[in-house]
Amino acid sequence: MRSAAATLALASIAAAFPSWSAEPGHEPGSAFRDCDVCPDMVVVPAGLFVMGTPRAADARGAAAAEADAVVVTIARPFALGRREVTRAEYARFIADSGHEPQAGCRVWDAELARFNDDGRRSWQDAAPADDFPATCVSFADAVAYAAWLAAKTGERYRLPSEAEWEYSARAGSRTLRPWGDDAADGCDAANTYDLVAASRFRLGWPEARCRDGQAELAPVGQFAANAFGLQDMIGNAREWVQDCATGSYVGRPRDARAWEWIGGCGERIQRGGSWLTPPDETRSAARSGAPAGERAADAGFRVARDLGARVREER
């Protein structure tokens, strides 16, 4: 059922953008890896979509910007990490690059059901094992990781833009969530604040009325992929994107570009929510901002990569 819908979505998008559907080696839906320690990448097709929540009044938790829904055109395919960057992948970057992130992290205390700022904790001990998402990473750490990958492979690795992220999370869907409108139908697709988590710790908000099998941060790739083949877009760890934080979409670029201010910005957007995110915010369009320097145990990232850049340069 899901794969049939996925194939249909991909076919209709490919048909709308014929010139980009047949780039050799990078057909939409295919996967690749540029090096042994590089993340698994999925080719996301070109297409267009409605960014935001056009009938925001009907969607609980929809923030103001979502109501200014805009049609965004993703003019060419690009690659996006199938999963959130793992602690093992991040550790390799730290070892190779000499990047020295500051110590300190907002760590999660499940016993007290709250975050604590802990100056001694870091990405190394934020997750229990290597196959968990790398968390306790700042925006600059995430950008440095992508820059390291780019230098290592010669390919244009970077963070996804907010538009690319939402387009990829929706994967052709126009519902509130990739799997439909109802949060309670998503427990095979996303690690959010659900009955399992709620039985472990009580937060001041409601839980998704289903069981996803995970109380806290989960290893990457445990949940069903969306129609583009991407996993954990919703839930598990919040993900940094390149865009500056703002409260409205009025005036934003209508294409794949990140929306950034001249002179930089202190807050960047995070997308997708985490294992702590209430149902209202586990929507494809839900967005939040965080200070760019913040390191938190529920926030990580995935990388994007331009396709075909080298081919164009050689011509």
């Binding site: 910007a65 409260g247 409205s248 979409y249 005036g251 001249i262």
Partner: protein, 311 residues
Amino acid sequence: MTRAPFAMLLMLAAFPAWAQQAPAAEPRDCPACPELALVPPGQFQMGSAPDAPELEPGRGESPPARLSFARPFMISSREVTHGEYRQFVEATGAKSAAGCRVLSGGQWIQDPDRSWRDPGFAAPPRDDEPVVCVSWEDARAFAEWLAAESGKRYRLPSEAEWEYVARGGTSFPRYWGENDSREDLALSLACDHANVYDASAVDGLRLPGPNARCSDRAAALAPVAQFKPNAFGVYDIIGNAREWVMDCFTASYAGRPPDARAWTWQGGCELKGVRGGSFASRPRDARAPARGAELAGHRQSDLGFRVARDY
């Protein structure tokens, strides 16, 4: 009457390093350069509280942002005039596409025969009226020409600078102290200070919105500096012609720079901020925090600009 100098004193007292600089008119930087007002540094709340009167939803003036200006700057005490703009066009040969959006029978219509040379009012434009029917690009080109003529850093004001100036050192949405105009109920205080859509404009313009309940004796565009200035010595910052600012427009202040800088995107933007209202603005829109936006190439017969300069 005494409030304005008093507000000034307060601000100067707070920033003694700048207190020696009197806020009086400075000598002009070049023959075509406008008279400038010196604006002291300070802090203010840009935008309006969520429960403020006369908020227009969807324009992003609320929630407000707390801004801090570390340095003084200068702003032209008047809107750039028709005569000044003509000198620019004559000196540079600047050409702009014909066509302007003008008022006709109570509606705004695009008229291909109108331009800044003839914006279509009852009489031909006077040299001391604000120039209108100029796009954001035209306005910026004018500021760059002034910069080249004078060697000083002329530019459009940022949206933050504009609102800071428009409030005139007060926290009121109108520097004359009118918090809520109560459009249809109350006699308006606006007409001593600003050329807005008032009783004297109704017969000529016949706009659908409510008018200020007073008479400013101007049916449409008025010569600059006919009304009372604010505490910074700035005229017509509310009303007469709407004014372009440097900033890109988005409908929220969340994420904006916390200082005087213009908020602009990488890769540019289509929508630019427009401020201050005009002779055609209903009372609700003739407020310092009220926001508007137009496409950068837009030309309209109630839309002009003023320039700012780094100090």
